[in-house]
């Protein structure tokens, strides 16, 4: 079972993705990021963005991944809500789908400035599911 959730941080907000694999946990964490901005169900998968990133370890890779999503959303003025992630070693290849921000329909709540190192963790929990989480600066 995969899924995502938000968790509280004083001024900002934490995103946590879970899944059977790190790939799934990363996908869900990105979905949680979109959910900070708008309801992901409102985002239609019309445009495709390919993302590649690499980092020396899985936690830094999550930082790179979420910040790449933030960068793509900011510069293309897109909302992304479908993610396919493949992680091989320290390399990540992903396909993200979404659509341009439609202020009237998406009512985006807030801009994400970036993913941070606070509460950054990628690990396997006791139930053997993977978790990928960190605090976003909004």
């Amino acid at each position: 079972m995969s899924g995502w959730e938000h968790f509280a941080h004083g001024a900002d907000i934490g995103v946590r993705g879970r899944g059977a694999t790190p790939d799934q946990a990363f996908e869900q964490a990105a979905l949680a990021l979109t959910a900070v901005v708008t309801d992901p169900a409102l985002v239609r998968p019309i445009e495709v963005v390919r993302i590649h990133c690499s980092a020396p370890d899985l936690e830094l890779l999550l930082y790179e991944w979420l910040n790449s999503v933030v960068f793509q959303m900011a510069t293309r003025r897109l909302l992304l809500a479908e993610f396919r992630v493949r992680i091989a070693g320290c390399e990540l290849e992903a396909e993200a789908r979404g659509e341009p921000v439609d202020v009237a329909r998406h009512e985006p709540a807030v801009e994400v400035k970036g993913a941070t190192f606070t509460e950054l963790a990628v690990r396997q929990d006791a139930d053997s599911r993977w978790r990928a989480q960190c605090i976003l600066d909004v």
Binding site: A8, H9, L60, E107, K113, G114, F117
Partner: protein, 810 residues
Amino acid sequence: MNLEGVRRDGDYRWVIDREGAMRVPAVLYADEALLADMDDKVRQQICNVASLPGIVGAACAMPDAHWGYGFPIGGVAAFDADEGGVVSAGGVGFDISCGVRTLVSACTRDEIVGVQARLAHELSRAIPAGVGSTGRLRLSDAQMDAMLTGGARWAVAQGYGSVEDLAHVEEGGCIGGADPGALSQRARERQREEMGTLGSGNHYLEVQWVTEVYDAAAAAGYGLEAGRAVVSIHCGSRGLGHQVGTDYLRDMVIAAPSFGLQLPDRELACAPIRSGLGRRYLGAMRAAMNCALANRQMLTHLCRESFRRILPGFEGRLLYDVSHNICKEEEHRVDGRIRRLHVHRKGATRAFGPGHAAVPDALRPHGQPVLIGGSMGTASYVLAGCATGEALSWSSACHGAGRSMSRHQASRQWHGRQLVDELAARGILVRSPSLRGVAEEAPGAYKSVERVVEVTERAGLARRVARLEPLVCVKGEGMKQPLVFAPQASLAFGQRVAAACGTTLSPMEEREFEGGEHKTRPLVSVRGEQVYVVQSLSGDAAGSANDRLCRLLFFIAGLRDCGAARVTACVPFLAYARKDRRTKERDPVTLRYVAQLFEAVGTDHLLALDAHNLAAFENAFRCPVDHLEAGPLMAGYLAATVGEAPVTIVSPDIGGAKRAQRVQELLEVRLGRDVGFAVIDKRRSGGVVSGGDLVVGPVEGRHAVLVDDLIAAGTTLLRAVRACRKAGALQVDAFATHGVLLPEARQLLGPDGPDRLVVTDSILPTRLADESGGGRLVVLEASALFGEAIRRIAGGGSVVALREMEVRRR
């Protein structure tokens, strides 16, 4: 916060003595209540900061301190480069040089209140804000470099504001040592279209008024007078700063071991000031500060322009502009000796006391203005730096209120619409593109700024000069408000369309002259606006289709003359749509002529509902058109009202088969079961329609639903009803988009008529209004379709997708 090991040192000063890895003590400024409220993470983080190499004096936390990233927000720490001191990307934060600037004015509160709504509207349109907003300026690489080294000076040179402004910006509007070369391509990319934008979250532009003056001399020196209006802008270095933070936080985390840094937490990532990475970060950070200063300068200009459109004499002199997320190289006296230190202020405001050389001449006797932003709808403060702050906190004070509740909690506890209404009732107009955004920024989700400011003063960090309350809070262009007009003849429909797209009809004048001439004009300015005109082109006793067409065309032409940016004609019933081909020799193709008329007067876009033949309609116009369909409305109503009996959709003639089939498909989706389809073949002999129609398809023992685009006299429909009954239908309903319903259509409500006659409100069924046929006549509201279409067009969405939405549910 756990107070064990926290030593009280005066009424508002608390010390955690050196322990473990700490190189200096940690000092917190707060009263007992604020201290108790602070998260334990603040304690942990400020102690971590105290353990960083080269830290001087003490690590300080301001009264509004809360859990941050590595450094607490509200954290202040100074480092000496000569002693291996570090610079920390986390100690500056992601929103580099986020800060506040305040403009003072001669306007009184009452003058503002008199134009408050117009001002709010004007500002919300002029100030790009919110997710996905872009500025008017797109920077080339060379312009970007000039901006990054020039800051507010660059903006003034580009025509934003005046040279006089610069003296009242920290660093004279431009910090030296900026290194555009230290920025990643991503950082540049993120800023390319974001100059002169406000951002989102707790950033705002507020029109405020001075409710109270605490220090008359300083207030006079600052130009603040009770009852007068001021404007405050709170924002930072936008995408560029966020990306610099992102890039260097990562680089510092990765490089930390190479500097031999033992970090208790990797989010404390830093680099020695005297390292290549440290120098590069400082260069990039200063470039980001210039970006923030330029950005606030541009917003100031946009704001002044907006004010002047409404209050022509408005000046808006800049009081001051100061950052609260930055690392500055400053001289401070330590143990009697002047030392150059790198002072990090993360959510803390520099607060130089009276006489300090960095304070502009005119303000110097009173100390540097310290601008404290409140949360949405609450008070803000102007403080002044005081001499005592130097020894206490490297001349630093608080920066704002700080959250007491997460965004998630806030959005569950408050509704944006309700908050906007409540604040409006208190005389505060909020303009935001996102109601969820408003809920997340609810005043109740923040701590009381009053208490923070009071403690800041009592602790000797800065003193209060004036208190400000908001009148207008702009956080973005409220939902783009299209202007919707509807002439009398379509008033009720127009009102429903306007309501469905979240607005009300804009006023217009309609005058009649003798001889049948008339004039119409908008009663509000349409310059630069997206305008929608709703008019159904049906004829009735009050006016002919031709008359209404003429009025619509003249009104559109007038709108264009008045400078409307875009005019969309919303025509629920398009007259002449059926005349799309020659059926006799020398016949006119009137649909095309109507299209030419719309184009000739400057119609940019036309929306119509079920225009008989989609292809003919789309091809007749050269301007963009969108075709809305009543099918989903019909299917929705049917799905809610049909019983268990099998249903068959019936087209009364072969020409309308496609339209009827679409309703069949939509209904199948809604009902989740098969729906039959039939078509009636009109038997003709010698060109005259004869009786004895053939029903092709399953009707016997079923609920038959006739679907057509238009009912005029109803003769064809009545024949079709009879044919279905004859073929054994249990119940026969008739659905049509447009109920032209001529007087003869009365026969449809007679004993031979359908069990239910369902039309939309594209034409008011005035002729049958007096007799609803015992509840047999049902009118569905197509106005919602137009409202949604306008919302989508105004918000840059797709109308075709609206048409396809229903089918995609499969």
